[in-house]
């Protein structure tokens, strides 16, 4: 815990991107998220921390309605993206997910070429008018994901043939290619080695310029390193939410303090 360093960055406190009010999530009879309110800022990295099983992933998946794909899952309450309720009947979850991209815990490139992996989203949403447009989008996304130099000579090679860290950056490139406004990341580094983790963390910091990033992590050092805002979840409750620096140095809630000092987890 002593190597934890709090990076001081100028957190530009701009507008609220996502605002959740009284969110409840049930898996059948299991009450997984209990009455959570949270405001997620634009162009900010927000970290969700908390012990395993406390509902971080569940809450994250509410933000782009990935929970809709789970039969037993039921979501109540309001989640506003740019003041619009994403659970409104008029909202198409498919459209929403193009705006709120997601990167998963385990790198999951499609068994296709690197190029086709990145071009997948733009093709589906018709973002490219021509092959040349698509080439531009693919290159730009791969550059943003800091993997262009490593793969530019083998765009037609299968994405599954890359190393774990490269695969995860490819997945980030794939998510970035659809020009989302929010990027959700569920423990994006848990399957990676320390060097790959470092690369992805640097990448997250750069992505902040263009997107609002929400990252779930079980590593408190990681939360401290990459985020400006931190939310601490415990047993389905949002216990404390605030500036990362404040949460790690001066937590208001006892449970938060116990968790970051390693007494519960």
């Amino acid at each position: 815990m002593n190597d934890m360093r709090i990076v001081k960055r100028d957190v530009d406190m701009n507008d609220t991107k996502i605002s959740a009010k009284g969110v409840q999530v049930f898996y059948g009879d299991t009450h997984a998220i209990k009455d959570v309110d949270v405001e997620i800022k634009d162009k900010t990295v927000t970290a969700f921390i908390g012990p395993s099983g406390c509902g971080k992933s569940t809450f994250l998946r509410c933000l782009n309605r990935m929970n809709d794909t789970i039969d037993v899952c039921r979501v109540e309450g309001k989640i506003l993206l740019d003041q619009e309720d994403i659970y409104d009947k008029r909202v198409d979850p498919v459209q929403l997910r193009a705006k709120v991209g997601m990167v998963f815990q385990k790198p999951n490139p499609f068994p296709k070429s690197i190029y086709d992996n990145v071009a997948y989203g733009p093709r589906i949403h018709g973002l490219a008018g021509s092959k040349a447009d698509l080439d531009v989008i693919v290159e730009k996304s791969l550059r943003r994901a800091a993997i262009w130099d490593e793969v530019k000579d083998r765009l037609q090679a299968p994405g599954t043939g890359l190393s774990g860290g490269q695969q995860q950056r490819l997945c980030i490139a794939r998510a970035v290619a659809t020009e989302p406004e929010v990027l959700l990341m569920d423990e994006p580094c848990s399957a990676l080695d320390p060097i790959a983790t470092l690369q992805v963390e640097e990448l997250i910091d750069e992505l902040r310029e263009n997107f609002s990033v929400v990252i779930v992590t079980h590593s408190m050092q990681q939360a401290a390193r990459v985020s400006q805002k931190t939310a601490f979840f415990h047993l389905g409750n949002l216990v404390e939410y605030g500036d990362t620096q404040q949460i790690f140095t001066n937590p208001k809630d006892e449970r938060t303090e116990s968790y970051i000092t390693g007494r519960i987890g």
């Binding site: 794909t69 999951n108 499609f110 068994p111």
Partner: protein
């Protein structure tokens, strides 16, 4: 039934061994199970196996070897002038066995004493009449050498039986006593039982493999026989199939192959899209409740005997198609002359294959990791886009494997063809005409009073062999593809 009794006796001995071995081990440990190397039952099982295995092994070897030995001994008594070739030697030998059995019956009924049965001479006694009196009818008078051979046969097999009983019991008792004496609390009986189990499993696995080999071999010799009588070139490249048992047959395989592949093609054209869509629905769209009902229902189709499908083809689908495509039918095209046609059999066979394709594809689609779906849905793809762009391409090699397996079933199918496609071997492109397949012809060449040395009957084996090779190649190819696909997600 002395062999049955012997069997029961050895078994009983083994069970006694089980109980005693168990008791001895327990006694050695002063009733304290913790002092034993293995659980008590293992010591019992150890003695049981030590009794049964030698006993049954001797019995099996003896039962296999005895007829061969007796045969060779008895054959030497038969003068060479009595037979001209191996075939008629077999006839004489079956006479010998029949007389020997007759003598047995006569002794059992008290019509003869043991000594009489052993010593009578056909020169002095009318053996045929004496055996006829006890109900054993013989075709002709008994030649002296046949009677002698029969008497020798009797003595040998009676003696052999006694000897076998003695040896089997001896082996069993020996195994029993040795393993019983060796039973003590340190003995690693658990490990030896493990070895017996292993041997049992290996035995079971090899029986399956050996059977396949046996099937191939039995086809092989007859196929060779056929090609001695009929030129291979005419068989593989002949365009006409017209067997006539009077001679002068043309036995070209091509019309049959054409029918086989035409019908299989139609069947697959029906089964693959429907089966695949059903699989996609079941694995990607259906909720757990629908799935729990629909999947078994679909698989019930696979359990219907093919003869029932055949009847369905003959009675329902055929007439239906004639009403549509026949003379004065609803479409007014007059393409179809009768209910039995390639189309009829193909459609019904396709229905039969649907569960086959859907069930295999369903498993393969389910094996595509959930992470692939999440990745695609998370990028804003719809379900059908996900299926089309990610899941099916990922599952494609496996699905191709499933289709090839279905194809090899279609090629081997017989009953539906017999009832649905007719029996005419024909090279025609019209799917509304009757045609036939390799399998259906194998049946028709072997039913009836075929003479097994004529090319018209032997051709069935050549057909079977060819079909076997083709389906084997198809299956190997399918398995290869399926396996290659499996490695992909590791």
């Amino acid at each position: 039934m002395p062999i049955l009794w012997l069997f029961v006796l050895v078994l009983a001995l083994g069970l006694i061994g089980f109980v005693l071995g168990r008791m001895r081990a327990l006694k050695d440990a002063h009733g304290d199970i913790r002092q034993l190397h293995s659980l008590p039952n293992y010591y019992g099982a150890n003695v049981l196996f030590a009794t049964l295995i030698p006993g049954f092994a001797v019995m099996v070897i003896w039962l296999i070897a005895q007829p061969m030995v007796i045969q060779s001994q008895v054959t030497s008594l038969i003068p060479e002038r009595a037979y001209t070739d191996a075939g008629s030697l077999n006839l004489v030998m079956s006479d010998v066995r029949r007389v020997a059995e007759g003598l047995d019956v006569a002794v059992a009924e008290g019509a003869m004493t043991h000594e009489q049965a052993r010593d009578i001479r056909s020169e002095f006694t009318d053996v045929r009449a004496r055996l006829g009196a006890v109900g054993v009818a013989l075709g002709s008078n008994v030649e002296p050498y046949v009677l002698q051979a029969a008497q020798k046969y009797r003595t040998l097999s009676n003696g052999g039986l006694w000897l076998m009983t003695a040896l089997v019991l001896g082996a069993a008792v020996l195994g029993f006593v040795l393993s019983y004496l060796r039973t003590n609390k340190e003995q690693r009986s658990r490990n030896s039982v493990e070895r017996v189990v292993l041997a049992l499993l290996i035995g079971a696995a090899s029986i399956a493999i050996l059977t396949t080999l046996g099937i191939v071999l039995s086809l092989f010799s007859n196929t060779i026989e056929f090609f001695k009588l009929y030129p291979a070139k005419d068989f593989f490249f002949g365009l006409t199939w017209s067997p006539s048992f009077g001679g002068g047959s043309e036995l070209g395989i091509l019309p049959l192959f054409w029918g086989t592949f035409y019908i299989s093609f139609i069947a697959l054209a029906v089964a693959v899209p429907i089966g695949l869509f059903a699989a996609v629905y079941l694995s990607e769209y259906a909720g757990p409740k629908v799935r729990a009902i629909a999947k078994p229902l679909l698989e019930v189709l696979a359990g219907i005997p093919t003869i029932v499908y055949g009847l369905f083809a003959l009675l329902t689908v055929g007439p239906l198609l004639v009403n549509l495509f026949g003379d004065g039918g609803a479409l007014g095209v007059d393409w179809m002359k009768g209910g039995t046609a390639v189309m009829t059999a193909g459609l019904v066979m396709g229905v039969m294959l649907i569960p086959f394709v859907s069930s295999l594809s369903d498993d393969i689609i389910n094996a595509v990791p959930q992470a692939m779906r999440d990745g695609s849905l998370g990028l804003g793809a719809t379900k059908s886009e996900t299926v089309k762009q990610v899941i099916l391409p990922a599952a494609l090699p496996g699905i191709v494997g499933a289709i090839l397996l279905a194809a090899s079933r279609a090629i081997g199918e017989t009953m539906i063809v017999v009832l649905g496609a007719g029996a005419a071997a024909r090279l025609s492109a019209n799917p509304f005409e009757a045609m036939t397949t390799v399998t259906a012809k194998i049946v028709s060449q072997l039913t009836g009073d075929a003479d097994f040395s004529s090319p018209e009957a032997l051709v069935a084996f050549a057909l079977g062999m060819t079909l076997f090779v083709i389906t084997l190649a198809l299956n190997i190819f399918a398995l290869y593809i399926v396996r290659k696909y499996r490695e992909q997600y590791d």
